[in-house]
Each structure stands twice: as structure tokens, then as C-alpha cells.
Symmetry: D2
Subunit: 368 residues, 4 copies
């Protein structure tokens, strides 16, 4: 928990880069050797978070092409660090000169100055959403490894403002077909209408991303501080704009009773242990129970709004400001792939750690 | 994130112990030297989580007296590890023999077996609530240090089932005066009635703990993965039974707009930077903004209920069970001090880390 | 590298305790579950470092009986932390009152005060050799696990002063049969005579411990910072009084040529890759090469000597002192088991880490 | 200790890159904000390790120009990660095609294959000396910060083969004026003659680097596992080709007596605590004592020699090989700056950690 640009124990990612510096990037350390990996494997994920794809996302034109600089040889990972970067092309620093001396409401301008006495104010610097490029690139590597291990992760927009996707309308294939990344055709229309209103009002909206992780074997996660749930809470809670996190029933569990919240176990016809329900969201005592892990993250509304707001500048003056430039009225659709990335990084790391939990399996690994 | 019984970077706690082993304990490493510390400082916190204090908590009789075994000399910390333990006196192993071969719904019995192929089944073993004794003892040390640094942390029961404490009724002094640790006199009566109904129905209830942290200077927390919010999410999310975590507006932020969710900055009459509201819960861009940090954790209902439930045993049989013995119908009141402890451990650690963020301050530290 | 009482990534030990506090102890976290473990397994190692066993070791009478407080159930490790402690019985604090205000030459008295402004001066406090009890207890657990994995570790006194054991006289069984832990019958006599002279002169001697590790499979250790050699250098270099560390030829390699220092590879009759020599000490590029790992640690002479020495006290006075009480004229024989312990902790940890280096093996672990 | 491309707790460096990949680089995380830093600050260190500077170093022509990609704004560090890279220009992959299927004696070819089942064989891949570019770039940042804190680090060639620099001839300014980085004019001539003989014989030589660190305040380093000495042992012991490490008297301490090895304390005329000698090399009980830290690292002879050697290939054949291309007959002169870099990274990190050792100082930091 120091410096804080690295996460993970065995599978680690270290990110770097500011919005208007030369580039943003990530070093992935601890990826097992022999995994087939190409820039295209990474690019498909980056393209999902790319700006300028709809009227609801910023118009910044970035091709955001990833380059792999190390750790891959003859199309396979070598076990050594995979360094990847994306150059920042559309920097337009002039647009941001005004904010150099101002503390925008809801932004990290003030806290950066409080901590470092100094900040790269251009485009939000290190706290820009461009920082998530590095997370997504690192997550893409984890995702590729997890596929080999039979783990399937996917996220989607669960709600925008008060527009919620309904479980009965859930259609996974539809997620990739709409610009709001929702799995519910009806909800999309309603949400689009709501966002258009927000834009007209020079305002923005929050929302919720839900993520499902299928195929984690039972027993992943550690019993005390490094519970799978706690580690996901940190990994996903570290995404900018996340203000809440829950597993399974989450906050609803607080109003439930034991008899309705407990998931009853049973053996199915093939003798396999099953749960009648999944209120626990796939995690019991911090360890995966073999059911799908289901989690949700609450994102606050984009703080950059064109509406006039009161705030201050560094000269000690109370001022008013209206944030210029195009900004997403909602971060959620582009955050979906970031949630997947952080879930993938966390789950792969904890699966690797879990390989050492039993002496008989360790012995079999080395001696057979 | 491996093995997982240690948390922290500079101020670290390592916990150990099973419910029915000889003892439970904690090693606190990295506590600055020269802090006045006695067993009594620890005991006051342990007494707050002790069972048997009301009809809503288990009747297990444990004096839970802490012993400090190292790291304190002549009444002050020496800078070396502080080892503390509490012996398990009321072990009554026989009561638990039945559950040895059963997987209780909502418990970690199955996941422990899945991970380790083996578990200490007595009283829940490592996943027992007794594990939190070690967290509380470690947290008490952090709390003592934080007081020296001007930081004040307190938590309370925000809701039980659907009974919510109202902000307008908030009375901090009342928290310690009622057995549900609520700050609202009206809500307590309602909650007690609800819990009595639950007990009659052999059922249990979930609830929410809220925690306020005052006095953290601005700039604590790291900008990317080790955000103060993310680290609190992990520390508090690692408490057993926690299924949700939020900062400030939390999940409500997802239905807010930028214009209503942003906190406007202003300079007060003394020229001090203030925020007109605190929707952010004291954290912007992962770093403290000088306002109180406000967080909430959702606890699921106690899974141990006397009501008959369907489940399985290790022999491959589908069975029915009713959990015997007295169990708290709600964990929340006793979890309040555990939330405080994890908040204290996390905040102290991140404050220590933040001391190195500026070269001018580092230089002044060493050269003046 | 903070606080510094924990070492390891997957297999971790956290030590605590001062010489004259209530006890010293260790928490072992990350030991795989299912390993047969008893207090007797630990005690045999502790007995090897126990004082009072010969005229060359301190006469402090400590039974040093270990107690396991957690992490073992029905004779097997459970995968949860193993907490062990040894009570300090022979504390005789009065003997040490004089040194409270003095900085003994060659001791850590001054540096403790410089760092913490305060120290437990009784018997050296945290810097006492009793701290190694915790290392040995932790190492005993690692050793038990390593035996399951086919790894054999043993150390011995290589030299005392200028008395060196000769390779041609090497007799492993003799190590445990002499109080200097030497593998050479001739050297023992010479070394004993030398030590007796030292004692007559109220002086002490340094020496070298050599350690051999057989059975590590090729490929353990990480290529860059966490080389097996570098990790052993840290683990063993962290033992008090160690001033030098080398692998294989060590410092002699500095005067060798490539043609004489390189180990030539060949396939033996069974087609197994072998090395004609082992100048590398079993490590190439930081990773084990399948040959025995051979390392040496240089220990400085015991700083506590009865001879009169010049030094200072906290009052700003230059004084003379003669360290009272019986002290070992050499630490090496009792340090042999400590070197084994730190080697075991390091090797087991790095073997566990190495399980995740190949995607095909990770896949086979999870999917077969 | 996992994955192993990151080192440090508060000041961390993460390195990446293979000899013949696109580039090599480093991410420096945790550098305090506000430090003046330019590419030129880094380049002066890189130029000292650059090949092709004398007949004793490889003729590979690389300009090795560093680029800073993040973490520096308006000429000062921002507190966020500093990403730096150097492109690999002189790749000439064809030269290395022969070694793809061979295990060179003294190299990591075999151990890489044993670990990862696969390697980037071009130019040694990750185990190439080019990996040290990243260490030097990271070390340059640490060095710049340390200068602000009054710490001065410099290393030099202590010996080449059996040619030793004499203390009485020590001339610091001469180190930078000779291509062997020796501080002794007489020794240089002798060493050059020796190396020419080695080159004629198609052989190579080992040597020793010594490093002095002045200005570390007393009390840096942690008492148990993270001793300053142990951390330096790891940091410097992780440099490729290092086979031995010592502090102060090092291995000579093993043949010394307490009375001659102890450093006697005294107060000088100004009342300042001093040591009459510095056999301890500036570290007592793992913590700095205010004297200069003096350490040495033994480097093995370059394993790449033109002399014919026996070895094996992957086809199971015993073969003979003569390593083609120009290779340094000694790595030591170019390793001098790498030793400085790892010393700087380690010392800065431990100084930052030491800021939190006393509650009075922590309190003064936050409340004054």
C-alpha cells in the first residue's frame, strides 16, 4: 500500500502515465510463460474503452494503439515482464490551461495539490480516465490467461441514474451491441432518453456496473484479510469514480434475514454440490464457493459538467466555473471494461496464490 | 495478498488463532516508538466486542483478557513488534462435534474444505468471530497513535433490518449507552422489538455500520490502486459477513447528477478551504480532502439460525439441520468496534506512508 | 522492507519478542495445509540452538520449550497461521541494569537509541540472540515441508578464526556429534584449543557457517531482483552478526577466469543434464540449476567480551567497560541451525512462488 | 519476492525488457514530488555503463538515450510514477541464432528453459547485462533525491583478478579518469596488463567492486529481517554475476577477535559520538551508526569466452563451443555504476521508511 501504482502478489500490474504526458502504460509482471499473446489481444479491450464512440462519450480522438515492448517472444509470453504503452496523441494542452489554478468540484485537483504541492494539471494528469488504459491493457493479459483456466468474466451497465436493467430482460449478446453496454433492450432506450436530458441540462449521471465471474474453482481467496471479496473490493474500488462496492446481495443483505439470505446446499443428481440460490455472490468466508461471483460497483456522476458551479482558485478567491469541452455525461459504459480488467487481475492473482494451499498438491506438483 | 493474515505496509498487523485453539492473537509491527501503551488501552476496545453483554449477543462467557508479550517497555512502545494474545477459555468443544461433517448454509465450512481439504471445525475455527479479537487489539494500538495525531474515529449501528437511525436524531454520546450501539434513541426501541421477533422466529437480521473519521489531513491516500477509499474497502471488506461497502453517498451517487453530487469548494472567513457539502465522504481521487471520511459497511444476517434449513454433509447426503446453541441474532452491534479497528489500522498506515510524498518535507525531516 | 519483522511472499514468518520480555515467538503464515506437525518437530531444532550446552556457549538456563498456539489441528497444519512461542524464564534483569545507559562497542545499543530514542536495554532487547528462537521455530516448519518435497538442507561450522575444516575430512554425521558443529574431526580439536585461548584472554572469535541445499529442482528463483541467490543473501544476511555472504565460489570467483570458473554442462549416461563442476553453487542467473546450492556466511566475533574496552555512556562521558556475565566466545556453532532455518524459509517460499511460472502447468493444476 | 521485477517498499523500481526486444525500461514509483529531474540527470549515469568505451568493453554501439515518459512536469517530479525507457537499436539478432538451442556454460540459458520452458535467446534476453540499464536509470533518480538529503554514494573497482587497489593510493577523482574505474593509478596499469593477457588467452576475469555511502543518519534500517545490511545484500546481490557480498570487514571479520573487531565509541571535542574505527562498515544491529557504510561485491568472470568449452545443446548432445562476438573480458568497470544504483535505491527506500520510527517525530510532522 505504498506509492500505490502496483497491485497484485504473484500476477502484478504497475501502471504509469498522465493524460497529457507522452504516453500511458503498464508493466505486467508474473504472467506465466507460454501464453499466446499479441497486441491484437490487448487492442480489442482497449477499443471497448476508447472515447469518441458515441454521442455519450468524449470526442477526444485517440487511436489508442497498444505496443508491446517486452515479455513476448515468438507470439508467446516468456514469463518476464510485459511492458505495454499507448502514446498520447491528442494532447491539446492549451484547452486545459485555465484549470491550472482552479480546484474543480468533484475532481482531485485540490487533493493532488494537498498531497504533492504540485500537479500536472493538463487534462487531470494522473487522475485522468486515461489512467484506465493501463488497467485495461493489464487486464487483457489476465483475461487471456483466465480463459485458459476456464474462467469467464463479463460486466455490463446495470443502471444509469434510476434506469435499471431488469433480470428478466437479460441478454448477454446485446451488451456489445449497444453503446451503453446494457444487457436489456428496453432499459437502453429509457437510459438514452435520460442521458439526453442530462446533456441538455449541462449535467451528468451516475450509474452501476455489474460483473459476473464464472468458472472460479471453489477455495480461491484467503480466509482473513485477503478474502476474495475484500481483494475485489480493493481492485474495483480503486477505479476512479467508484463510491460503492457489493458482492451478491450486497446492501440488500442488511435488510434480509438469515433464513432468506442463506444459500442452502444440496447434491444434484450427479452428486455435485450445488447451492439452491446465490445470495452470497459466490463467496463464503472470503473464499469462492464454486458459484458465479457477482459484484456491483457504484459510479458517481461525471464531475465535469458545463453547468455553472461555485468553487475556488489557488489565489484564495471564491469563483464560478463552467467546465468547458466535451465530457461524457456518464462514465459507466466505458467503465464496464475497466471493471472486467480489475476483476481479471484480482482473480488470476488469487488463483495463482491458491495453488499452494495444500501440501499434497504441492508435493504432486514437484514430485510427479 | 498471499497467505493473507497480514495487512498494512508500514503499520502492519498479523493475526492468528482459531475459535477453539489455545488462544487468538496479533502481532503489530511498525508502531512508532515512544507511544504510551498499556493492556488497559487494549482492553477497553476488547470489552466492547465481548459476547454475553445483552440478550442479543452470545452467552459464551469469555473474560477475553489481553496480554501484551512484547514491544512495550516501561509503559511505552519500543518500535519493535507488539505481540498480544487472548486465551480461549470457554471452549466446550463437544457442542461442535456435530458440525464436523456438515456444511452449514451461509458458513465457510465448505469453502475451507474446498481450499485446504481439512479444517478445524470447532466453533468455526479460523472463520469464527473470535478472529476479530485480534483485529480489535491491533486496531486499539492504531487508535492510540491516531489520537496523538489528532484523528478521531467512531462507528455505530446505522440500521438493523429496515430500522434506520435518522440523522436528525444523531447523538454520539448515546452510542455507548445502548446495547445496539445506535446513535438514535427512537431507532433503538424499534430495532429491539424487531430483533425480539427475529429470535422468536429462530431467525436473524442483517444491518449496516457507519463510521466517521475526523481529523485526517488532506492528501492521505495514493492516487491509483492504493486510494484511501480502496484501502478502506479492503480493510473493512475483509471483516467476516461484510457484503457491501460505500464511501460518502455510496450507491446513492449512482442515481445522482453531477450538479447535485459535486461538493462545491469555498474559502471561509478565515481563508480556509471548505466544502459546502460532503457527498464525496471526504475522499477525492482516492486522497483525503480534509473533510470527515464517512463510510458504511453492510453486514449479512447471522447465518447460524435455529430455524430448520436444508443442507448437505460430507458423506454426500442431503440433510436438514437446525443450528444449536445461542447465537447473536445480529452481528452488527459487536461489529461496530471491529469496523473502527480496521479503519484505524488503514488510516494510520496510509498517514505514515503519506509522510514521504514531498521532497521538501522529507528534506526538512532529515536535515533540520 | 518496512517494519521488518516479516519475511516471505507465500510462506511468511513474522517474529516478535525481546530477550527479557515475557516471551519470544513467531507466526508462520502460508504453510500448506495437511502437513504433519508437532511441537516435537520444532523442539529438535530449538534444542540445537539452546544455550548452556558446552563451555563455549552461554550458561543461561532456558528450557526453551515451544508451544504451538494455532494452525495445527489433529496433528496436521490447517493452512491458517501457526503461532508459536517460547517463554523467557531466566530473565535476571538485574544483571543488565548497568548497560542501560551505556553503548557497548559492537552492539546495537547506540543504533536502537538513534532510531527509536528508546530501547529495552535488558539483555539486548530485540537485538538479543534470543530473537533467533523465532527464526528457528519458523524454519523448522519450512524444513518439515521441504522434506516432503525432497529438499535436504544442512549447515555446519566451516571455520573458527583461522581454523578451517578441510573438504577431504568432511563427515556429515560428525556435525551433530561435536559441540562446535564441525564436519572435520581434526579441525574440532584445533578450534577448541583456539577458543580456550580466546576465553583465557577474555576475548572472542569470528567464524564461517557453510550450508548445503540438495534437491531443489532447476528453475527456482526469479530472474531479476528476486534471484534465489539474492533472496538467500537477504534471509541469511539478516541474521545478527553476519557480515558477509557468498554463493558457490563466492569471493574466490573474483580472482578466477571464465575458463576455470564456468561449469561445463554434459549429459550423463542416462541422458540427464549435469555440470562437471559446481563453482556456481547451484545458481545460474539467479535460478537454481539442479545442482546443490552451496553458500557461506561470515560471522563477526561476539562483541560481548570481558576484556576492558573504551566506550561512551548516554551522559556524554567517555568510559571504560568490561562486559560482565558469561558470553559465548563464538556465535557460530549455535548459529548453524539459524542459517539452516533462514535457508529453509527462503527456499520453500521461492519454490511455492515458482509453481506459477508456466501456463501449461498452471492449467494442468486447475483443469486436471 | 514474487515475479521479482520490482524492488522497494516506499521507493520502488520495476524493470522490464530484453536485450533484443524493442526497449528496456523502468518505472520508478514513490519518488517524492518536487524533485528537479531531467533526462540529462539520468543520462550521465547511463553513459558510465555504456558499452564500447574502451577495448575492455563490448563494441556494441548503442547510444542508450533515455526518455522520460511520465511523472515529471515542468522539470520536477510529480510524485506519480516516472516511466523511463531506452530503445534497443543495435539488435543484430542474427548473431545470436546459434545459441538458441545451446546452453552456454556459466549463463542462464538452461535455468531459463528449466523455469519457463521457453526463452528469448537473443543476446541473453532478460538475463542480458542490458537489464542493468533499467537499474541505473532508477538508481539515478534515487541518487538525485539522496543528494538533497545529504547522502553521497560512490563505487569503484577494488580489484581485478588478483590486482588489488591499495588504500594508501586511494584517489577518488581518479576513478572517473580511467577506463577500469579504479581509484589507484598503480593498480590500473597492472590490471590493464592482466586483462590484455586474458584477452590474448580468449579468457576473462572476475573482480570486486567497493562502494562507500556517506551521510546516512544513524538509525536507518530495521532491526530484524530488513536490516540495512541485509537489504543491501539483496539489492546488490541481485545484480547478475555477483557471487559474494560483504559489509565492513566482511569475511575478514570471521578471523578477527572481538577486541580487534569491535569499534570503540568516543565523544569528540564537540561532544559528537564517534567510532575510533569502522570495522562494522557503518552498520550495527542492522541499523546505520552514522559512519560511512562500506560494502563490497564479488563479480564472477564474464562467462562468455572465446576459448573452446564443452557444453550441451537441447537435442541431448554433448558439444563444444567458442562464444563468438566481442565480449567484455571483465564486467566490473561497467558494474560500478550498477552497484551505486542498487545502493541508492536501497538506501533511499530505507531512509523513507525510517521516517516513521518515532511517535514524537510523526506527531511533529503532522501537527506542526
Amino acid at each position: 500500500m505504498a506509492a500505490g501504482s502496483t497491485i497484485g502478489t504473484l500476477f502484478k500490474i504497475t501502471t504509469w502515465g498522465e493524460s497529457h504526458g507522452k504516453a500511458v502504460g503498464v508493466v505486467v509482471d508474473g504472467c506465466p510463460a507460454g501464453l499466446a499473446l499479441s497486441e491484437e489481444d490487448i487492442q480489442v479491450y482497449l477499443d471497448r474503452r476508447k472515447p469518441g464512440q458515441s454521442k455519450f462519450t468524449t470526442q477526444r480522438k485517440e487511436s489508442d494503439q497498444v505496443e508491446i515492448l517486452s515479455g513476448v517472444f515468438e507470439g508467446k509470453t516468456t514469463g518476464t515482464p510485459i511492458s505495454m504503452l499507448v502514446y498520447n496523441k491528442d494532447q491539446r494542452s492549451k484547452d486545459y490551461s485555465e484549470i491550472a489554478s482552479m480546484y474543480r468540484p468533484g475532481h482531485a485537483d485540490y487533493t493532488f495539490d494537498a498531497k504533492f504541492d504540485f500537479r500536472d494539471y493538463r487534462g487531470g494528469g494522473r487522475s485522468s480516465a486515461r489512467e484506465t488504459i493501463a488497467r485495461v491493457a493489464g487486464g487483457a493479459v489476465a483475461m487471456k490467461a483466465l480463459k485458459e483456466l476456464g474462467v469467464d468474466i463479463f460486466a455490463y451497465t446495470k443502471s444509469i441514474g434510476s434506469v435499471q436493467c431488469k433480470d428478466e430482460n437479460f441478454d448477454r449478446t446485446f451488451i456489445g451491441e449497444n453503446r451503453l453496454a446494457m444487457p436489456d433492450r428496453d432499459a437502453v432506450k429509457e437510459a438514452e432518453a435520460y442521458l439526453e436530458t442530462m446533456m441538455e441540462q449541462k449535467d451528468s449521471s451516475g450509474g452501476i456496473v455489474e460483473c459476473q465471474i464464472h468458472g472460479i474453482p471453489a477455495g480461491v481467496g484467503e480466509p482473513v484479510f485477503d478474502k476474495l471479496s475484500a481483494s475485489l473490493a480493493k481492485g474495483i474500488g480503486s477505479i476512479g469514480a467508484v463510491k460503492g462496492f457489493e458482492i451478491g446481495e450486497g446492501f440488500l443483505a442488511a435488510i434480509r434475514n438469515g433464513s432468506t439470505n442463506n444459500d442452502q446446499f444440496y447434491y444434484d443428481e450427479e452428486g455435485k454440490l450445488q447451492k439452491a440460490t446465490n445470495h452470497a455472490g459466490g463467496i463464503l468466508g472470503g473464499m469462492s464457493d464454486g458459484s458465479p461471483v457477482v459484484l456491483r460497483a457504484a459510479f458517481k456522476p461525471t464531475p465535469s459538467i458545463a453547468k455553472m458551479q461555485k468553487t475556488v482558485n489557488q489565489k484564495g478567491e471564491n469563483i464560478e466555473t463552467s467546465i468547458k469541452g466535451r465530457h461524457d455525461p456518464i462514465v459507466v459504459p466505458r467503465a464496464v471494461v475497466v471493471v472486467e480488467a480489475m476483476a481479471a487481475v484480482t482473480v488470476l492473482d488469487m488463483m495463482l496464490v491458491s495453488m499452494t494451499s495444500r501440501i499434497d498438491k504441492v508435493k504432486a506438483f514437484f514430485l510427479s
